[in-house]
Amino acid sequence: MSLILDKVSYVYSEGTAYERWALKNINLKLEDGEFIGIIGHTGSGKSTLIQHFNGLIKATSGGIYFNGRDIYEEDYDKRELRTQVGLVFQYPEHQLFETTIFDDVCFGPINQGLSKNEAGLRAFEALRSVGMPEKLYYQSPFDLSGGQKRRVAIAGVLAMKPKMLILDEPTAGLDPKGRDEILDLIAAMHKERNMTVVLVSHSMEDVAKYVERMIVMNDGEIMYDGTPGEVFLHYKELEAVGLAAPQVTYLMHELKEQGLPVNSAATTVEEAMESILKAFR
């Protein structure tokens, strides 16, 4: 399974005074089972980009191929595509609408055409995997805390059993604890279900710890595409476009400049610690 974007460009409000090229000539290939982070500051086009992945918006120019098929073909089943590519929007808790948590999670599977029983099973499974306590299932989603609401909303997409899961800034507005919980949950999902996961964020620190591949967006273009270690080598350029590398990157570069033989590509605290200890050995 793969998703290919071929020279995709997208313009908002074409032909008006507010015209804006949100994406410019994006070429991208997402492989099966990857854990990808998309980083960029606000307005760099991240949300616009991922809305192309499941055909919610149509590229102004360029093509998108899912499993080798052009998704803009006349008879392409967009609904099937959306089943395969699950998209969790930013602040997904704002889309809850049902009277009970359980019913809300059932919404996706029912739209897929599953029977009530099957949808219920899916909902149970999804709610369990996001760690919702069972006693809450039949309560109103509006009574939950922010972090819990977000889990329910994520469960709503998981219940559709997508092969690829895309999350737009899933940690926005959460406290550090809620943030770590959600990120750990996503990482676990990637490992256990071997799902392709695309994590959108504007925080390097969040993403560096989890992803294998990082795509840096700037002003509608892909600036870097590589492993976190590779990307952070450009920490000075990243800074110039308003993104900061993780603090360890700075520390490691500083140490190296001072003559300590450490690995400056270390991106997490654990890696850094190992590398520093090794240098002293």
Partner: protein
């Protein structure tokens, strides 16, 4: 889809019409609407058309923006035209079939009614396209201020209006996002019969209302935190002041309206 609703959307440009005081534009729109219902022959129609074309030209707003609003009232236009066409009494019959009868008067009425409706939408959208909602409410507040002498809460009304207008684009954007998000969960807003489509609105409307209430709550809190107490003793950062151009604007309006009224009374 929602971005196509132009009524109440500002088009950014620098034109004489944009720079006019909102009070001039408010009165102008009012006078213009009156004039639409005053003319009844081709000469009046020509005067209105020339006026409208001149205003549109000097506003620098592309014509396509003005006609966008027409789509919304297409049905109304068709119905109005048909009613006038068939139900106007008259003796110069052009065509008849059973009880259906089309008279020359009917054709004329239907034509004028159609023109009036189109001009009404196009003309009023000139105002909304060249005036920001804030200017508009400022203008209204100032123009209606005398009413506060008789205990009409002019300031509060203006405040409510400006807040409501301010939230329209936000709610439109929110609708767009929620719609996309539910589509991503397999919702279908476009296909199916009426019942099905109405049902499909629930996942859209519930979150929209929840968010509107949340926003209203937050805003009220934020206003209170900044000691908002209503209109008494409140001054403006940019008070409205007439400039020379505004008086010229009033003159043009007076000439236009005078002409229309005189023609109605003495002409034809």
């Amino acid at each position: 889809m929602f971005r196509e609703i132009t009524l109440g959307q500002y088009y950014l440009a620098d034109s004489p019409i944009h720079r006019l005081d909102p009070r001039v534009k408010l009165l102008g729109t009012f006078v213009y609407i009156l004039s639409l219902f005053l003319f009844r022959d081709v000469v009046g129609f020509a005067v209105v058309t020339v006026f409208l074309v001149c205003v549109i030209r000097s506003s620098k707003v592309p014509f396509s923006y003005m006609v966008k609003g027409l789509k919304a009232i297409l049905v109304l236009m068709v119905v109005t035209a048909l009613f006038n066409l068939f139900l106007t009494p008259g003796d110069r019959v052009l065509f008849s079939y059973g009880i259906l009868k089309i008279t020359l008067e009917g054709v004329k009425n239907a034509g004028f009614m159609l023109v009036r409706l189109i001009y009404l939408i196009v003309g009023t959208s000139v105002m909304t396209l060249t005036t920001t909602p804030n200017q508009l409410t400022d203008g209204l507040e100032k123009a209606l201020m005398p009413l506060s002498k008789v205990k009409v809460p002019v300031h509060s009304i203006a405040m409510i209006m400006s807040i409501a207008l301010r939230f329209i684009p936000i709610l439109i954007e929110e609708t767009d996002i929620i719609m996309k998000a539910q589509t991503a969960r397999g919702a279908d807003f476009e296909n199916g019969n009426l019942v099905k489509r109405t049902k499909a609105m629930v996942p859209l409307l519930v979150p929209l209302f929840v968010s509107a209430f949340r926003r209203a709550d937050d805003l009220a809190m934020a206003m209170e935190a900044r000691c908002y107490m209503g209109g008494a003793g409140r001054t403006k950062m940019k008070p409205l002041r007439y400039r020379k151009e505004d008086f010229k604007g009033y003159l043009v309006l007076a000439a236009y309206f005078g002409g229309i009224v005189l023609w109605r009374v003495f002409g034809g």
